[in-house]
Symmetry: none
Subunit: 376 residues, 2 copies
DNA sequence: GTTAACCATGAATCCTCAC
DNA sequence: TGTGAGGATTCATGGTTAA
């Protein structure tokens, strides 16, 4: 396969797959080859420490006059940090790549605005609704029972990955919504350090990453996490047959993550396979139905309830009510609709029953399976 | 008490209570007395940036929000607009006042960042989870099933109003969470114009305003809405014994709102009893069992007597005897039955024993206990 | 009159490939 | 880069009509 110009320019250091890189994520990302990553998942820090910023280093109270400047300074430095790591991540993405960022009201608005400013194209914001959040002990606010994720493609024109059918399947046949109800990470899943305390303050549940990775990557894709922490992204990516790249500044977290990842086993192909979308099926021209003699030229087709009729012609076009064209065009014209799926709209008659054309297409596809089996 | 310069300058025009003011909200707010409002509720244009038409699978056309008031030339012009109306609203707030803003991913990040920049202090972001959102018809994204509200005090030092106990009792004795499950505004509540069409494209449900006003104002408080529309804020404020100030640019909306408000009667405090039906058992998709790691992709399931077997896949579907589908579909197919309850049909093996899936569903439901009940 | 079937609609950044 | 054609895609609710 031919490398893109970007990849050639940076090929001095190829993308190190399935490793945890130590150091500042902005510097490290800038040293990796551009256009080499399918998905970025980022859980950036949001320790604004605004309270602390109200005191000077000598611990004197900042007075009201300085208040505004101080706040601005704090937001400005966080915004600069956000701008830099987002730009570095965007450079790494393939043209059809995408990013997920998770945050809370402390930081997500600033991150979301910068995502838009940099030309990412937001697909959804997603609410992780926690089944077991920490209550607000003082009763001064609402229970902060959710976090917000932003899912954005690299650009408006990106052909991003979205496994619609797989997510629908995860939701028992109903279209997946933008609010996800999942428990926080506790119990055996929560990693502990040597002292038995939690190894990381904000470890995310694997269930959250499972949904992200199943929904917006394919097996073999590269998932990069610039704030790797204890490696939840890597663990789920590895389990589901994706490659990961982790970047983490703190050595203690890297060690916990490395031990965790060593224990993970990739699932076998059967388990990783997900329900394939119809649009991924090979396209069958209607003319093949006629060529193979499954329908004869001259045979009549009917819409539901026989409201409309049309005749099959030898070239695989239809003619009905003086309208000629494809099965789709004639159906759309007769219905006065902007479009029409002729495969499901038209029916042929066998033994008094009306059978949709799509049955014939499925027969042809089944025959083709034997010739060139597809994965899944 | 000495008046501030602002208040002196504006005292020529006292705050007009329980009226709808016509005109540009920024100009009008700048002409009202500073520090005179307890709560601002704002539903600004979302800047949806819609392109072409959208059709449902049945070919009917979706009535898009393409009104002139939602069109902005760029992020920069939207940001300038946001900066100006937020500054004008902030000036009107009493020192202990607060603001609510509602939006979607199209605009809420930009609004939230500017709220922080201007020195408001965010208390919570609140998710309105819609029980009946419009689906994603093309299957290219997640159902956009929520909107986001930001609740912020005028400043960090504001002693904002929060009626903790009132919200707790609205929530059947459990602390109110940051995610609110409410239906969209339809049926008899949805206002119609003379032609019988919806009077406003984005009318909000009264239930949403009810919760906001009960939770963050006291009787007799002044609630200002700079994007009044058909006056939902005013209607609920009046009903609950608060004063309102509405600002609306479009005369057609003002007329609808005025008629609506004339019909509203203030309730006795005693009459604000909340009735709600018992919560239905929440539906648990089998996919959650897989995401949460209660069963691993690849694990085998068995029917009673182990007559049939199937394997769990990563998307929560099963594969057994070459049949793929949900736990219910595969069970039904293997039994040659029209339907099958997969939760009781399938079993997993633990320590040599076969355990029905339904045990896992009960575990998930138990974890969800204590969640906010669903209305209706 | 009762029930079932049918229809309408909601803040939406909603297609993809070949030529 | 545009154009044209193939053909894939929906959930909850409330109101209206048919049986």
């Amino acid at each position: 396969m031919t490398k893109t110009k970007d990849q050639r320019a940076d090929s001095a250091r190829p993308l190190p797959l399935n490793q945890i890189l130590g150091g500042d994520c902005i510097e490290i990302m800038n040293g990796l080859p551009a256009g080499s990553v399918d998905l970025v998942f980022a859980d950036p820090p949001y320790n604004l420490q605004l309270k602390g910023d109200l005191h000077r280093p000598d611990n004197s109270r900042v007075d009201a006059v300085d208040d505004h400047w101080d706040r601005f300074s704090s937001f400005a430095s966080y915004d600069a940090f956000t701008r830099d790591w987002l730009a570095a991540a965007r450079r790494l993405l393939k043209p059809n790549g995408a990013i997920w960022v998770i945050g809370s009201y402390h930081n997500i608005f600033r991150v979301g605005a910068e995502i838009q400013n940099q030309g990412f194209w937001i697909m959804n914001d997603v609410i992780w609704r926690k089944t077991n959040p920490m209550p607000n002990f003082r009763g001064k606010r609402l229970t902060n029972a959710h976090e917000t994720l932003i899912w954005a493609a690299k650009s408006e024109s990106s052909k991003y990955t979205f496994n619609y059918e797989a997510l629908k399947s995860l939701n028992e046949g109903i279209q997946m919504r933008s609010d996800w109800v999942l428990p926080i990470c506790t119990g055996g899943e929560r990693l502990k350090d040597a002292a038995g305390d939690k190894a990381h303050p904000t470890q995310k549940p694997e269930s959250l990453l499972h949904r992200v990775i199943i929904g917006t990557t394919n097996p073999g894709d590269v998932v990069l996490d610039p704030f790797f922490g204890t490696g939840t992204t890597g663990a789920v990516a590895k389990m589901l047959g994706r490659d990961y790249v982790g970047i983490e500044r703190e050595e203690a977290y890297r060690e916990v993550a490395a031990r965790r990842l060593a224990r993970i086993r990739r699932l076998d192909q059967d388990a990783i396979a997900t329900t394939r979308a119809k649009r991924a099926e090979p396209r069958i021209p209607f003319g093949q139905v006629v060529e193979r003699g499954m329908l004869r030229p001259g045979e009549e087709l009917f819409s539901i309830g026989s409201r409309h009729k049309a005749k099959v012609r030898a070239d695989g076009s239809l003619i009905g009510n003086d309208i000629k064209g494809s099965i789709h065009q004639v159906g759309a014209a007769l219905e006065g609709a902007p479009s029409c799926n002729g495969w499901t709209y038209w029916h042929f008659r066998r033994e008094g029953k009306l059978i949709p054309l799509d049955i014939l297409r499925q027969q042809i596809r089944a025959e083709m399976e034997g010739d060139a089996p597809r994965p899944n």
